[in-house]
Every structure is written in structure tokens, then in C-alpha cells.
């Protein structure tokens, strides 16, 4: 009896766990992308030593140009068409002990705003999680740059297209055991790559164990991203861009904005019609008056 009761209890417990998992998965935007088929990249800034081997490896794999002394100095480097990954020194102004090397690249949002605004569908979110620009299709309008909450897609003035990190989508499907170039190059294991749900668990474990790691960037920001970054403090303290928490590419919001405009247009047309009909009547009245006077 007891044994049977225990068995049922365990099943119930498992059911409850599965139910809770499903509940969390379906409800929180941050975890909605934690599907087992999707990859994620984890950057641990508390481990990064700022050697910039990730930048160098990225440039080598993607055949990007190297600018002068950007790989050997702490000079602030910005993302560009030739810099898909940058490592910059960041410090918390309030607490100087929070000095980190921040590995920064495309965050591969679960619902990418760039893909939503691209007029010709040149940007796609691949099933594995990579957000990729089709450079043969891009028209170079830079709307994706405006819409991206992190300002990642940058314009290449020579090729006249927008380029950005692809999470090495040309590496992963060929050799499934291979990691993105930046992750493979990291000498101190500050970067890891794997299934998204494993990465979330790993990040939470590190935040739990390591007292310097306090914040996981990418769980909620911009509706959740497939790249996670462990930070010693909140992103705004480090001077990082703070993305809106709610889903950036919300279609309902778009409808609201556009609908307001259409209502305005209808109101304008109505006003014009009223103006026209009112003044037209006046003229007719004038004509009538004149005719009466003449007669």
C-alpha cells in the first residue's frame, strides 16, 4: 500500500514537474525558446580574460578584415560589418571591482525584430536558432539596424549589404560537433555552446555557484535571446544597451500603430469631405442670392 502510494506520488510529482515545465515554457517569453532543438551561446564575462581570440577566430572563419591594432589593445571597438564579435572592457562606475571584458555579438533573439521589419525577408531565424542575413537578397536599407534593440546589424559600405554574426550557421550543420569559431577559440572556457535549455541551466548553475556572477543577460531582454551573457551586475550599470523587456516584434503593437494612422487618414478624408460640402453649399447659396438680385 505504502509502496504503491509512493509510486503514484512519484508519478504525480513527475507530472507536476512536467506540467510546471510546460507552464513556464508556454508562459514566460524568456523560456519559450528553450526548446531542445535550438542552440544557444553562453558568454561568461567573469571568466573572460580579454585575449580577443574569439574576435580573431571569427574574422578568420568569416573572412573579415582586420583593422590596425584592434586585436592587440584594449581600444574600444564597435560592432561593424567587419567586426561581428567584439570584446570591450566595461566597468561599473559605482563599484570599480566590477570590471569585465564583455563579449558582444548578435544576441540571436527568439523573435528577432530585424527579421520582422526586413521588407524582403532577407533576415531569417533558422530552426536551430541562428538569425542570418541573406547577403544576396539584402537591399541595404538598414531598417534592421534601426529596429534591432542592440544595434547589431551593421552596414557594409563596400558590399552595400548589412552583415552580422550568424552563429556560424555554416559550421554547425556540416559538422554537428563543431562549435562556432569564437567558442572553439576561447582558451578559458568563457564561451560555451550547446542546446539552449542546457545553456540556461548552465548559466543558472554558475550564477548560483559563483558569487561574482549575478545577472544573466538574455533571459528576458528583447523577449529572450539565444545568446546568454553572465554579468557581475545589471547591464545598465555597465553602460550596456538596455533592451525593452517585452517582445520587440509584437505584431499587435504594429497593428495598433498602423490602425491609428488609418483612423487618422479616414478622419482627414472626412474633414476634407465636410469642408468641401460646406463651402460648396455656400457658393451655391451665393449663386442663388446673385440670381435673385439679378432678377
Amino acid at each position: 500500500m505504502n509502496k504503491a502510494g509512493k509510486n503514484i506520488g512519484r508519478r504525480d510529482f513527475l507530472k507536476l514537474l512536467a506540467g510546471a515545465y510546460a507552464y513556464v515554457t508556454l508562459n514566460s517569453p524568456g523560456l519559450a525558446g528553450a526548446q531542445t532543438s535550438r542552440y544557444g551561446k553562453l558568454a561568461d564575462t567573469t571568466r573572460c580574460i580579454g585575449c580577443k581570440r574569439c574576435m580573431s577566430a571569427c574574422k578568420r572563419w568569416n573572412k573579415l578584415e582586420v583593422e590596425r591594432d584592434e586585436l592587440v589593445s584594449d581600444r574600444e571597438t564597435d560592432l561593424s560589418a567587419q567586426n561581428w564579435v567584439v570584446v570591450n572592457l566595461r566597468a561599473d562606475d559605482k563599484n570599480r571591482s566590477h570590471r569585465i571584458y564583455e563579449h558582444w555579438a548578435c544576441q540571436h533573439c527568439i523573435e528577432p525584430a530585424c527579421a520582422g521589419v526586413c521588407p524582403v525577408k532577407a533576415i531569417t531565424k533558422l530552426p536551430r536558432g541562428n538569425v542570418v542575413v541573406n547577403e544576396k537578397k539584402c537591399i541595404g536599407c538598414r531598417y534592421c539596424y534601426q529596429a534591432c534593440p542592440y544595434k547589431v546589424p551593421r552596414f557594409d559600405f563596400q558590399k552595400r549589404v548589412t552583415r552580422k554574426c550568424t552563429l556560424c550557421h555554416d559550421r554547425i550543420p556540416l559538422l554537428n560537433y563543431m562549435k562556432p569559431a569564437c567558442v572553439a577559440a576561447c582558451p578559458v572556457d568563457a564561451l560555451s555552446f550547446g542546446y539552449k535549455h542546457e545553456m540556461i541551466l548552465e548559466a543558472k548553475k554558475r550564477v548560483y555557484k559563483n558569487e561574482n556572477a549575478r545577472y544573466i543577460l538574455g533571459l528576458k531582454e528583447a523577449g529572450g535571446t539565444d545568446m546568454l551573457t553572465i554579468l557581475p551586475t545589471k547591464p545598465e550599470d555597465l553602460g550596456l544597451i538596455v533592451a525593452p523587456i517585452k517582445v520587440v516584434n509584437n505584431n499587435l503593437d504594429k497593428l495598433r500603430v498602423t490602425g491609428a494612422g488609418f483612423m487618422g487618414a479616414a478622419a482627414l478624408a472626412g474633414l476634407m469631405y465636410t469642408y468641401a460640402s460646406l463651402t460648396r453649399e455656400n457658393i451655391q447659396d451665393d449663386h442663388d442670392n446673385r440670381n435673385e438680385k439679378q432678377s
Binding site: C118, C138, C141, F157, R160, G261, F262, M272, Y275
Partner: protein, 422 residues
């Protein structure tokens, strides 16, 4: 009017018998257009970077210029449609000029954005092949394509009677050109009868107005959808764009038609004059509504946490001079005062000055609107300066030069004057 001319050579010679100032103007405009072509050529030979003010502010003068021109085009379409769509006969005086201006402003606006795009040729192909219905930019591009077609047909229908008249009076090449432009051979067919029907013009005008308003709304929505740019985000801009289009259209029509008459030293007909003063009063009214809108935006922006910083860029930041002096002073308050003074006194120069001021103010406003939103939140301490690059200035100057040149040529060779049907 060129009705007295005997043949096409006479037409050309009569046009060329203008004053020296005309030649100087045309050569200035032609050379400006040449410089713009040079700038485009250089951008193709070297890189698009010569147009770029900063990699972080990726939409600058060409985008704001585009916005200005298409706002003008929609506004002109709105104002002219009062005449032949809504049936206000006195507005039919400005139909041809307004619709022609509307056509050339939208075309030059498209040239402006085409030079800004990395691959304009792909934009045409992939807009058709792989449309993204969730993107406001796709809707804008598609609707404006329809708009251009409708507005071109609208102008052709408006101009056709006089084109036929001109082909009857001209001889030789002039006759052939004008009769081909008017498709004179259709005259005795059934289609010709349809083309003469006023209902068709009304229908095409309504189609142009609807596509124009929708396209313009999606242009505002293009900015309104961008949640990552707090200044643009929201439903304010689609509405404000429609309003600013209206006053921009009035200002263009007033400025261009008065300036044309003054430069040609012709007397403005009495009914046209009374329409001008009516339009001046409407312009003053619309500008006051615009001022209310601006106050609303700034006032509410100060209380919205995400909008405070970009709003403060206008109120006391690097954009304050442009905002207070150009947008508020030259663009809104002074013109209202001048118009309210000039309209009752029947002072035509006052109306001209006020409407030119409105256009200058709106131009600066567009530039600020596009640039300031990109400064925050990316560039932390704002921009040190925000002057456009040299090549950009060449391009924009040349583009506007080519716009005015096209207008002058249109004024010479196409029927733009008021209709005498009524």
C-alpha cells in the same frame, strides 16, 4: 500660354527668348544636378561611405530628404483632391500644377531613397518575389508604387485636353510630340469618350488619394513600429505625418504658384487670388493644429520615462537650436503670424514668405526627426555636431536643383496653368 505658337521651333525659340536671369537660373540648376550625378557616381565607384555621416547614424539626410519630398507629395495630393475628387470647383484652379508637383516630388523622393539604398535594384525584384507583410517598409514601397502610377495617370488626364489643344495649334515635331503625349488617336474611339469623362478623373484622383494616404500612414508606421527608438515608437507619428503632409501641401502650392507668377511677371487672376488667400488661412489653421500636436508630443514625452532623453535633445540638447528656431520659430509661429496678417490685407508677398518659411521649417524638422532618434540610445553623450557630409550636401542640393529644373521645364512645355473650364 503657348497657344499662339506656329510650330515646334517657334515654341522652343519663344521659350528661349527669356531674360538673362532665366539662363543663369537654369545653368545653376543644371550644374547642381550634375554635381548630384557626380556624387552618385563616386558612391558607386568608391563606396557608399562618402555619403555617410557616421556609421552609427545610418539614416541621415537622404532619408530625411525622402521623407520631406514624399510628405510634400502626399500633401499636394490631399490639397488638389479637394478640387476634382471632393468637387470644390475653386480648387480645380490649382489641380494641374499641384498634381504635377506631386508627381515630381514623389519621383525625386524615390531617387533620394534609391541612392541611399545599398541595392535599389534588388529592392524592386525582392519586393515582388519575397514580400514581408509584417514590414511597414514593404507596405510603404508597394503603396507608393501604386500611388506614383495613379498620380501620373491623374496628371495625364488633367493635362490631356490642353495637350490635344496644343497639338492642334502646333505643327511639325511639336504636333507629333503633343499628339503622342495626349494619345490623340484615341479621340474618336470609345476609350477616348471614357477618358473625357470627369468621373474617370474623379475615380483616379480618389485612388491616388487613398493610396497616397495609406502609403503615408505606413511611412509614419515605419518609424512608429521601431520600438528600439523611443522617439519614433508609438502611434503619434502616423497621425502627425498626415497633418504635416496637409500643411506641407498647402505651403508648396502657395509658394510655387505665387513664385511662378511673380518670376514670370504675370498678373494673378482674381479668382486665383481669392483662392490663394483662402488657402493661406487654411494653412494658418493647420499650422496651429500642428503646434498643438508638437506641444502634446513634447509635453507627454517629458512624462514618459523612455522618451525623456530624446525629447530633451530637442528642448535643450544639441538639437535645441534647430527645434526652437527652425521648427517652432521659422516653421510654425512666425508663419502663422504672417499669414494671419497677410491674408486679410491681401498681401501676396507675405503669403509667399510665410509658405517658404513653412517649407524651410518642415525640412529642418524632418532632418531632426530622423537624426535625433538615432542619437539616443546609442551615442551616449549626443553628437558633437550634426552637419551632413560634403558629398551628401552635393547630392541633396543637386537633387533639389533637379526638382526645380523639372518644374521649370514642366512650366515651359506642359500644361500646368489653371483650367478655364469653369
Amino acid at each position: 500660354m503657348t497657344t499662339g505658337t506656329k510650330n515646334n521651333l517657334d515654341i522652343i525659340f519663344n521659350h528661349l527668348e527669356n531674360s538673362r536671369a532665366f539662363y543663369i537660373w537654369v545653368s545653376i540648376l543644371v550644374s547642381a544636378a550634375g554635381l548630384a550625378l557626380y556624387a552618385i557616381l563616386m558612391s558607386w565607384i568608391y563606396s557608399l561611405e562618402i555619403f555617410e555621416f557616421s556609421a552609427q547614424v545610418s539614416w541621415v539626410t537622404m532619408v530625411s530628404n525622402y521623407v520631406f519630398l514624399v510628405v510634400s507629395s502626399t500633401g499636394l495630393c490631399i490639397v488638389t483632391s479637394l478640387g476634382h475628387v471632393f468637387g470644390m470647383q475653386r480648387y480645380e484652379l490649382i489641380s494641374r500644377r499641384g498634381v504635377f508637383l506631386s508627381l515630381i516630388t514623389i519621383i525625386f523622393g524615390m531617387i533620394s531613397i534609391g541612392a541611399h539604398l545599398g541595392h535599389p535594384e534588388r529592392a524592386m525584384i525582392f519586393n515582388l518575389l519575397t514580400p514581408n507583410f509584417r514590414s511597414a517598409m514593404w507596405w510603404m514601397g508597394t503603396l507608393y508604387t501604386f500611388y506614383i502610377v495613379f498620380i501620373a495617370i491623374e496628371y495625364w488626364l488633367l493635362a490631356r485636353p490642353e495637350l490635344i489643344e496644343r497639338s492642334d495649334q502646333a505643327q511639325g515635331a511639336g504636333e507629333i510630340i503633343y499628339s503622342h503625349m495626349a494619345l490623340k488617336k484615341l479621340n474618336n474611339s470609345r476609350l477616348g469618350a471614357v477618358l473625357k469623362n470627369h468621373k474617370l478623373l474623379q475615380f483616379v484622383g480618389a485612388a491616388a488619394l487613398i493610396s497616397g494616404l495609406s502609403a503615408h500612414n505606413t511611412l509614419g508606421a515605419l518609424f512608429g513600429h521601431v520600438e528600439a527608438r523611443p522617439l519614433w515608437h508609438g502611434s503619434y507619428y502616423p497621425l502627425y505625418f498626415l497633418l504635416s503632409a496637409s500643411f506641407c501641401g498647402y505651403a508648396w502650392l502657395l509658394a510655387v504658384s505665387i513664385a511662378t507668377y511673380k518670376i514670370k511677371k504675370e498678373e494673378i487672376p482674381e479668382n486665383y487670388k481669392s483662392l490663394i488667400f483662402e488657402m493661406a488661412q487654411v494653412l494658418a489653421l493647420l499650422l496651429s493644429v500642428g503646434l498643438v500636436f508638437t506641444t502634446y508630443k513634447m509635453g507627454f514625452g517629458l512624462f514618459a520615462p523612455e522618451k525623456v532623453k530624446p525629447i530633451l535633445l530637442f528642448l535643450k540638447g544639441p538639437f535645441s537650436r534647430a527645434f526652437w528656431l527652425f521648427e517652432i520659430g521659422i516653421g510654425t509661429v512666425l508663419p502663422i503670424a504672417i499669414l494671419l496678417w497677410a491674408a486679410p490685407k491681401k498681401n501676396i508677398i507675405g503669403v509667399l514668405i510665410a509658405s517658404v518659411m513653412v517649407l524651410v521649417g518642415v525640412y529642418v524638422m524632418r532632418y531632426d526627426f530622423v537624426v535625433a532618434a538615432q542619437v539616443y540610445p546609442v551615442i551616449k553623450n549626443g553628437l558633437p555636431s550634426y552637419l551632413p557630409a560634403f558629398m551628401e550636401v552635393l547630392f541633396i542640393g543637386g537633387l533639389l536643383g533637379a526638382l526645380f529644373l523639372t518644374y521649370i521645364l514642366g512650366e515651359k512645355f506642359l500644361p500646368l496653368k489653371e483650367e478655364h473650364r469653369h
